[in-house]
Symmetry: D2
Subunit: 373 residues, 4 copies
């Protein structure tokens, strides 16, 4: 489909990043090979590239990442602690990365572990505040000037790392992609910022497995007027993402992201259950069992079950590559702001109502065709 | 979605038909209740309607229906044997039905068992014929005048009952819906006929379960560029349809209808296997297990399996009602010919390339919206 | 297999009981019929028996049953509150039941909802006690005299209803079957009591579905030396039992009962996960998905998954009938004490090491054959 | 369990064999590695052993192996064609193998592809013969002298390769294990021969996956008196065994072997369906979906489904090693004739009625314990 699209070639990209754990890319790849996710021979073929990549990775920041992530961390920047200083430090690294590698532009992709829900903007907590304080936070949520002041206040950051990186990137005119369900650039204030800086952003949470299936199957039930009574989804896997999501605080963010779309597609709220459990032996093999209980004509209950057995990393990785290439294409075509046409990549596309996968993909098709003209 | 559409109410319809078995609707409903497909109390509520319906059912015709169906038949019209006479007799019944019930219009829906492949137009057999004979059959296939002569020739019919009913209906200006994979009105000659007579038709083969799932899931693999290596589908069920499909000749027609769409959606031909087996204890509960073996990034094989447990009759029945109402709406809106906008109802929509379910449904949405204006 | 066994006929039994909810057996049966678990016609056939049964049901006692059960209760005995008084009241009802119905013997079967773990004997709490207090509790756990004093002390009961009923029954020489994972007659003190009173008892927790499957499948992995790395079991259902188990305190007792046997059969402890979730639409249809990850020769990981779709009540009911008949047979054959030969009926057979289902069943076969001689 | 058993060590064995295809063990192992069945590093570790093994493999015989196997064959012995000459040639190879490797004893294991049903002893064909001819064949089936004459007659062999190898081995006093469902040493005449020559034998058809599951699950339904209405099993896989079983003649032998045991365990004949299909992409990963439809108390139908995803070769290989070690142990303990105690290894244990896996395993346990004394 993209044959006629002038997509930037992958060879035009240089990859670098921040990381809070020691260890090399080669070790990570070998871990995946031991889990039967990738072929050992494939690692051998690209080992020099992996080593070169290690050299472009610097220590990152922990902020509101949750205690499981903090326990995993063994090399991170703890020399600065205020939001302002962290953003300054991130921006310094971004500038240096661009300069050292002679880059026209930098795209920041958030691939950190899922963060706990950001309590500062949490609805439950907002409800308990004074009218005045609530209005202040709403202003911060929606207007960049207010949000910016919040970030620059002297206190330790009230938002988590994902949002600090988003702010750092967009302020510099870099693009920002949030591949996780963390807050990132979700507040509407960031759309204002992106447009101001001629930058682009999108998220949240790459749609790779069970939720992809939901966004594919739910339209069938809607269009056939089959009433979904309950939709149960159990997810088990054993990679590092699984370790983090085993913490209830981090899991809450993820479950919310996996769950909302059914109601949006169906137009009513069936009973749902989403579990995510860490099962060590599975490694990267994310296995999901979904049980969908529905009724049709005359109310007889019927059942659809599916089991999805996929390699989490292998399903996510190509989406990250495609997002980078499409974001860069958007820049070259002078698009700025929130990239709604990338909705099909995300479990919770920011500010997009359409949750059905095929219709989201059609949106991408239309944009691509417009770009080709 | 259809709230603003002026769809004909079901109360405007009168149902009658042809049948080749004895036995009442109430008995059939009770059989379904014993199979746990419908609630016995529901039958009690409509028993008078069911009895009234029995009175509007007349004996039908057997022609190329296959030996299993012939064995089931215990009341059918055997007083005429040529295609011409059968068509005349069907038309007489249609006229009488309209007159007796004071109807403005009649829609004929083919709900007969799947017929064996029609050998007269079978590609394998065509290949063995003389050039002249092949050209004659192509002419018959595509032009109504030639097809009409074929039907009116003195010999016993070379096409099966589904096509005789289609011809009888459309010649009278009645509409024809083919809810089975039998030949019906598939030859392009019937489009010419329908337009000539201001009639409408569509088919083939109601998309109710496993194939519906295929048309929903295959676009996901295509849009995510996940290479489907094999797609295996095993169907087991125990209703009368299952008995008929247990005959390899009838089954061949059905399997072809369940299988083609993957290649059309994916753009390549994965290894496929479709089995349909009669398992008595299941009754109307059609159970399908599909195993989809695919590979993504770096070629690691992954698996999606699903099990569909649905009541065959309950999934099919509302589609038949909807097709009747939409066909009548089309008539009132002066549409004539082949109703492509109904593609989402069929496994093998006649002459329609799009096999993805959501895109087919969008076609219906667009037509409905156009009708509302 | 039991053709030659002189099992008591069901017609020899009279059924009565204690209940803490209002409502008739007919209403409960109709609820099951609405959930498609039983045939409405079957209820019609036995409606007089059901009504007669209602008349033999008296209000029961709540004690340590947990807040969910307390919320459900709408008719229970609240006129007495000490353990001693409750036991006296239960015994008065048992004596009256035997007398009114002219019975030779009474068998008490505990079918109450699962109770929270009994904290008085909980290992975690014991560990925090003084040496002296721990020894006192150990004495109570193992010797009837000490346990009896504990029950007769003036304070409100430290054990839950299941144990009060067990004590009341066995002291009277009635038999006691614990069909739930609650404490019941588990303390060894009850074996002493049963022998003293010529009574019989057994439990715990009827083995009806997923755990039955575990006790059938785990021996296969053990005997083929296939190393089970993880065994995940997700249970969903929507009957009243499901409501109670949705409370984490009650659920903890159940999960422990469903989980221990794998380690006993395999001889090592794989990672396990057991979830039990209330999904309203399923009603009595308990659905379990188990994912077993194992490795064989050369360490390649393989997978077995199963889905069990059974009616909880229909799987449990015949076990209760069989247990009653076998217990009465044991009495007639002068057996007294703990009935180890009934192990195959229970998830957690009291004091029995063998957890494999077939070997448990062989134990029953041997006992039956011995009884036949 | 076998810790106290003085089982022969694997190091005491030397492996050689006959093969009808070219290609090395290393190539076969690499093929398995490409199919993700084994780890490439494991092959590297034993490559010298694999090469040494190649040197001990000689061309084998084709006889009644079926056309698919014949098409695969690219190096076989075609210099002799009568049964007598083939047996002589096999025996010469066996003697040389023992002598060259200085072996005390040789065990022959049949690992050839499944052969078509042997028509000479097929019941359907027997029924069409004269009384005299039927009696002659019965004599051959049951008495070694008659079978021996049949083999020594001048005509081309009426039995297939598996039986020729069995005869060659047992006549020499070598042991014979039939790991396939082919005829092998099934005729009772071979038991006479084995005892005469102080040799041992057993078969048929290694029980590795779906049928193992059947022999584990069917006793549960029997012991719980759950009536199995239908048992459907679909097997898909893509190794060379799958290619052979795709031929209906070879498949018939296999399906019979996978199907009979349900009736034997349950005591009645549910409707069954066993399919075996070649799906190339699966390679060695044999996937089985079984759907078991059963009814319990009050006749409500319930369902158990399982999906087995195992590496065919890795499940079979350790059984072959164990069979060799146990057979050699039996020789050292002076056991001779048919080894019934090995029944748990086979789908169709010759002349053994017990088909339940756990009870078969107990038979092995009892024999092992007797050997330890």
């Amino acid at each position: 489909m993209f044959a006629r699209t002038n997509l930037p070639e992958w060879a035009e990209f240089v990859v670098g990043g921040h990381e809070i754990r020691q260890g090399s890319f080669r070790e990570s790849a070998e871990e995946l090979a031991r889990q039967k996710a990738i072929d050992p021979a494939a690692i051998e073929r690209v080992k020099d590239d992996l080593d070169a990549l290690d050299a472009r990775v610097l220590p990152g920041f922990l902020a509101g990442s949750g205690s499981v992530v903090e326990k995993m961390a063994d090399r991170w920047r703890d020399d600065v602690s205020s939001a302002k200083d962290m953003i300054d430090a991130i921006q310094a690294d971004l500038r240096a990365f661009a300069q050292d590698n002679d880059l026209a532009h930098v795209i920041v992709v958030n691939l950190m572990s899922t963060e706990p829900v950001c309590s500062y903007f949490d609805n439950g907590i907002l409800a308990q505040l004074s009218q005045e304080e609530r209005e202040k936070r709403l202003e911060e949520w929606t207007r960049w000037e207010a949000f910016s002041q919040l970030l620059r206040s002297a206190a330790p950051p009230v938002v988590s790392a994902s949002t600090l990186y988003a702010a750092a990137a967009l302020e510099l005119g870099c693009d920002f992609i949030n591949f996780t369900p963390s807050l990132g650039a979700t507040p509407p204030a960031f759309e204002e910022l992106a447009k101001l800086k001629n930058a682009r952003f999108m998220g949240n949470d790459g749609k790779t497995g069970e939720t992809l299936m939901k966004s594919v199957l739910a339209p069938m039930f809607a269009h056939r007027n089959l009433n979904v009574m309950s939709w149960v989804g159990h997810n088990i896997f054993g990679n590092r993402d699984g370790v983090v999501l085993d913490d209830p605080r981090n899991k809450a963010t993820k479950v919310a992201s996996k769950n909302h779309l059914l109601t949006q597609i169906l137009g009513y709220e069936p009973q749902t259950l989403v579990s995510i459990e860490y099962i060590k032996s599975l490694g990267d093999w994310k296995t999901a069992w979904d049980h969908i209980h529905f009724e049709g004509f005359l109310g007889t209950p019927m059942t659809l079950q599916f089991t999805w057995q996929g390699c989490d990393s292998l399903l996510a990785a190509p989406l990250v590559l495609d997002l980078a290439r499409l974001t860069e294409l958007a820049r070259r075509k002078n698009f700025k702001g929130k990239m709604d046409f990338l909705a099909c990549f995300f479990k919770s596309p920011i500010g997009v109502d359409e949750q059905g996968f095929v219709r989201q993909f059609e949106q991408l098709e239309r944009w691509i065709h417009a770009m080709e003209e």
